[in-house]
Symmetry: C2
Subunit: 236 residues, 2 copies
């Protein structure tokens, strides 16, 4: 919730939410496509992918979620059309009942807005993914995802030169709409700039990576508006 300003009381209220730990095995589907749920899940460790699929069962990953992300917060207000969720490696999630989230949002408008804003960051990323998959070639697509995940995995710190990204080349293809074979060839072409090995991304040249990846981090940045923008205005 670093993306919004909350008072201590609000922060305590969030930390007091009832949670239930759940450990997912690598490759385990946590939420099946079109499944309805009454919990939202916070990724505590590991990594999950959200995905959609065609009627033929071909999967398309639509989002990656790192520790700290609510992977399906949107389901709290709209439990349909969330897509499936799949653990990319052994992952611990904390399940929070929708009812508790909604009750909290009702009581604290600033929390409602913080949740809403969090969902809107996801939406901005999704828009960027449409552009990525639709308009960029294989090198740019993959480099772009590596840039995005570098920023998101680094939190407020300096950009990490290496970060965990426990996906197979096949899964990276599911995220970029490429085949595993072509991901492999593309990674080879990028090897001077970035490598994916043992479930980690190693960035050798960040400047070149952002250039190849046609990457501008604006869409990921926290709101840079005046501070009060991060909180709801007092009720009129």
């Amino acid at each position: 919730m670093v993306r919004s300003l909350l008072t201590e009381e609000e922060q305590h209220a969030i930390l007091a939410l009832p949670i239930q730990e759940l450990v997912l095995r690598s490759k385990q589907d946590y939420l099946h496509i079109n499944e309805r749920t009454t919990y939202a899940c916070l990724v505590a460790s590991g990594m999950v992918g959200r995905f959609g699929q065609t009627s033929e069962g071909v999967r398309q990953i639509t989002a990656f979620h790192v520790p700290g992300d609510m992977a399906d917060l949107l389901s709290a207000v709209r439990p349909v059309g969330v897509g499936g969720i799949n653990a990319l490696c052994e992952t611990m999630v904390l399940r929070v009942p929708h009812a508790a989230i909604r009750a909290l949002a009702s009581r604290y408008p600033a929390i409602a807005e913080a949740f809403w804003r969090d969902c809107m960051l996801d939406a901005a990323i999704l828009m960027e993914w449409v552009v990525n998959v639709g308009r960029r070639n294989s090198q740019t697509r993959i480099a772009h995802i590596f840039c995005e995940m570098a920023i998101r995995s680094s939190g407020d710190r300096e950009i990490l030169k290496e970060y965990p990204f426990p996906v197979t080349q096949e899964q990276l293809g599911d995220a970029t709409s490429l085949t595993g074979v072509h991901v492999n060839r593309t990674l080879r072409a990028l090897r001077d700039v970035v490598t994916l090995k043992n479930g980690s991304v190693q960035i050798h040249d960040w400047a070149r990576l952002t250039r190849v990846g046609d990457f501008d981090a604006t869409y990921l940045t926290a709101d840079t508006a005046p501070e009060q923008q991060k909180r709801l205005l007092a009720a009129a």
Copy 2:
């Protein structure tokens, strides 16, 4: 706001929002990419497209908005990363100040949730677009968009056999990540099922169109949960 249940008082409060009418010429950019705004806009008539673009300026439409849609409601809580907005034909929009939206959301939790839910429908559509652009061939892609817009243009009525869709083949290509030339060829191949002419889509065979378009409307359906799901639970 038909997607949520609101009391009369809440409905009146929404209708009392300060608005400012604005008429956009066809092809006019209303919001430039990366532009920050302090208004959200409701489409009153006509049609707009939201778009992203690569650094080379190639555009990718990420959403269409029909009358009744808030095209950039998400900007109320997160004014960055919205992308650009372009009028596809002469369009009237109603601009509503972010401040008013946020004040209303703060005062009426059910309205906050209705706004949030509305944004989440957009997000669900966006996920479907990633799948569409990433995983489907040209015929399926175009047919899928035609299906989506048929449902959204029909509102609660029966599905219209003809509905306004004032886009050029080139713009349809910008939405489906195809070139204008290929859109043209694909439309020809689909002409027994659906045609795009004079700014309207004519559906000749809805059953076939959904089959060709690999279309399942679940992601667009209003929440089918028990009624109270459509409103925030009373504050604990």
